[in-house]
Symmetry: C2
Subunit: 396 residues, 2 copies
Amino acid sequence: MASTSSLPALDASRLSISLTETPFPIPTGKTTTKAHTDHLLIVSWTSTQGWSAPQIVPYRPLSLPPTASVLHYATSCYEGTKLYRGYDGKLRVFRLLDNCRRMKDSATRASMPAPDPNELSKLVKELCRVEGPRWLPSETSKGKFLYIRPTIIGIDADLALHVAKEVLLYVVLVTWPENANSPTAIGDKETLPGFKLWASPEDSVRAWPGGTGNHKVSANYGPALKAHSEAEKNGFDQVLWLHGTDRMVTEAGGSNFFVIWKTKDGVLELVTAPLDSGLILPGITRRSILELARTRFNITSKWELDGRTVLATAVNVEEKDFMIVDLIEASEDGRLLAVFVAGTANFVRPVTEINVHSHSIHIDYDAIPHAALLRKWLADMMYGIEESQWTEVIND
Amino acid sequence: MASTSSLPALDASRLSISLTETPFPIPTGKTTTKAHTDHLLIVSWTSTQGWSAPQIVPYRPLSLPPTASVLHYATSCYEGTKLYRGYDGKLRVFRLLDNCRRMKDSATRASMPAPDPNELSKLVKELCRVEGPRWLPSETSKGKFLYIRPTIIGIDADLALHVAKEVLLYVVLVTWPENANSPTAIGDKETLPGFKLWASPEDSVRAWPGGTGNHKVSANYGPALKAHSEAEKNGFDQVLWLHGTDRMVTEAGGSNFFVIWKTKDGVLELVTAPLDSGLILPGITRRSILELARTRFNITSKWELDGRTVLATAVNVEEKDFMIVDLIEASEDGRLLAVFVAGTANFVRPVTEINVHSHSIHIDYDAIPHAALLRKWLADMMYGIEESQWTEVIND
């Protein structure tokens, strides 16, 4: 076997593009998560040959051996990010390189080859350039987006359990329901109803120290479906994952979880779980929210929101452990002012109810404007209304 | 959507068989885990149509959408069991129904449809009847076996995270290195060398309460590869999974872990981790060993082993928690008499070394005959030397 260091690395300059002659019909009507675009970016890797030349090819099913590693041993990791059609007609990605860096970390945790983040980022942008014009036409798609899913799977046809010697890296673009991400939905309870969260039962635990809760590996998700379907059956949208006998609040469904409350000392505080426990995903939206809140909520200020002028009181921004009992107590004391979740799939979404084992916490949708402001600021960047270092125009 | 109860259940009587016209060459030379037989058993299920008619078809790759649930969310569970060619020329399976029952439990934990164990068992046996004559010819394969892998995967082409609405149940048979299961290897250090185990590092955990460690779901395996490859790099065969700050001993690699030691009170004891923690897999081999040990090691007796007569001292059989420090202490006191792992893939395998973070425990390969006897008794049943209620002849 050749030494690993001498094997070909992932190299975007080797990309070849083969366009389809039979593009799919663009779906009409209600947008779902089921429609994909016309092409697939695909690269393979083996432990003896390194990375192959990347290809953009007409969308096709994957042909996998029934004994493929990913089907039995969850050798898989992925990313989620979006391609935005701005109000200025330009296509943008948002902190894409951060996603590609996280994918490198996830692949390493899953004992799979880690693609170079810069090369992966270039390849994702190439696929976006191919699909953008037809799937997000500049005239009719302003304020719309596609969801981008880079994925790495182990494809060894060998049932002996070992580190994958053959993998496939691929990227697909799919449509996604619009109200999860539309800037026009800001603060509108009709188009953007608040999430109802269901606290995880004690016998269902998402993550553990030394596990994979802080990486985007497939193994985090299948086992979570049991509690998720229990939540849905009870009329709730997502699970709020609590941890340990203390019932520490970690994250919600596939999103990070944020609270704005007054402390017992009367200090207004924006709180989310810290990364150092290794239990929660280091979300790109999470980081963006923390950075924005720290720079814009550091003093009480007036802002424009949805045609109104609103006052946002200054908040302390804290990444720290907190327990569900703290949340219940704050609610009972009238100190719980806002709860929201944030992530790529659900963007920034108000939470209006949390069910904690037959106890219900209700939260005002819009008692304070902070969550709606964060949502607006991010959407403004994504759609080119606000200039930002976090976005990159890909079709200039 | 039709009500679930009215949908077609898994039904082995609906099986159709389409035989290949181009069988694969039977591999020669050293047996690997990479060769599969000529056919595949396959059944699909959807939430609106229930189970389809099962089919045995020529072996073929699976065609999956790049957005298939299993590739992103580890919606997958499986089983491992074996087909044995006896010394009497008969084909046997071993406690197959127990595997099919466990698959029902695993599927339920993974929020997937649970196949009826009796119907699944019938289907597996049908596939074995198709493959047995060519892949384990009665004249030349006595004492040989094939590995059986039933698998259920979620195949919804929808990236929204939800319980799988479409799944594929399939069964493949593959070859497996012989020394892992050959009765001729009993007590032979050359053909069956002892395993060397590497205690899991504190930052790598296999399972936790409320997780999936007690179910055979794919999500348990990919995250375990990091520690496994660290073990291999250090010259060890498998990881010994320790849990919690107490470093409780749970299981080894993909096998259950057994110790025979003298307690401080001088009682000879066979110990393995209990099932009630939810941390370990309820192994079929584990259960068989406990049942055999309880009935045959209850009094000190003489047994035939490999042409010799050996004396097996009576042992107490215990399923209870024990810590790595107990193992170290027993080793230092000279009370640690035997360590072995047991499971379908590795059968019953002596352990001769355990590395616990730079501390090494060495164990005699054959200080006492108990592990070799358990191995012999099970192999004798599997290969028709001893009549057993645990085996079923499938080609009478």
